[in-house]
Symmetry: C2
Subunit: 187 residues, 2 copies
């Protein structure tokens, strides 16, 4: 056995999630998180850049998946459809609804966390833009398709999280995309 308990990073994430859910993000100190994980405050900051990041660290993997899905979309797909398809397929694989609900409740309850969420989405939009340009899509169209795709995802995600919602995320994404097309066409 090693000198330390294994998976320090995971224990920190678990402890942070519990405490954020129990008493709220602001009311939780990093020292408390570390203590529950059997570590020190200093060690928390060796694993996570700041107190918020522990809730968003998984996002990098997600971004990779999205980008790969866009890159791998058939050449025939229009930009916005390549993006939507990527959102659909990745969304299918990754998301656990109950976990998402709890996590989102924590985020929605705190402005700092909402800020961090937005910059992650913005980073995702940039990555998607880059992937589209790699497909030969011109800059302006790439940016707009990526931003529009994110907008579609956000709207669909909110509905998916909502109580009483029966449909699955990919279906909601499709519906949301259709809604966007209707909105932008009908003028």
């Amino acid at each position: 056995m090693g000198r330390w308990q294994p998976n320090a990073r995971g224990r920190l994430a678990q402890a942070a999630l519990e405490l954020y859910a129990e008493r709220g993000f602001e009311q939780t100190t990093v020292a408390e998180i570390a203590k529950r994980a059997g570590l020190t405050e200093r060690t928390f900051f060796r694993h996570y850049a700041d107190k918020r990041e522990v809730l968003f660290a998984g996002g990098a993997v997600l971004e990779d998946l999205f980008v790969r899905a866009v890159t791998d979309a058939p050449d025939s797909a229009a930009p916005i459809d390549a993006v939507a398809a990527a959102l659909e397929t990745t969304g299918t694989v990754l998301l656990d609804r109950e976990f998402s609900r709890q996590r989102q409740a924590i985020i929605d309850a705190n402005a700092e966390l909402r800020e961090r969420e937005l910059i992650k989405l913005s980073s995702l939009a940039s990555a998607l833009t880059g992937a589209l340009r790699g497909r030969g899509v011109p800059d302006l169209a790439a940016s707009l398709a990526a931003e529009a795709g994110i907008a579609v995802f956000k709207v669909a995600f909110v509905r998916w999280i909502g109580e009483g919602e029966q449909k699955d995320l990919p279906q909601l994404i499709r519906e949301s995309l259709d809604g966007l097309k209707a909105v932008t066409t009908g003028s």
Copy 2:
């Protein structure tokens, strides 16, 4: 004459802008800002909720203008066009290009400031969504039109700020909107 110099809030904003531009956001302490303004750190926080907010305090006025423009758009205007028109007209009135460039350079150089900018845009999107619902637009369409409008604005603003750009902001907004329509239609 009063006991204190007038316009403490304005002096703080001025001092903050100067220091952020001179040596960067992170390298500036609130105490330094306050000192340049002839005040104390504590007083800074009485005027601005945090160190970042001094760069975004004007946004509330802007949001009001946007919302009013949407509300006042002719009934015949489709949602996305009402939003675009609001962005155009308000954008015309308010923005000084050189000031915007300097402010944006400060923001772009710092992740925390980018986060704050994003949440302000998000707040604007919510306000626009509300204004659209007030026009009788259904929820889904209202959200999507607002988000899409913001995306259009972001893309246009970046181009407007860019060096060598000749066109004015309203024109770029129109072009950006046309680009979005092309992207979402062509599939």
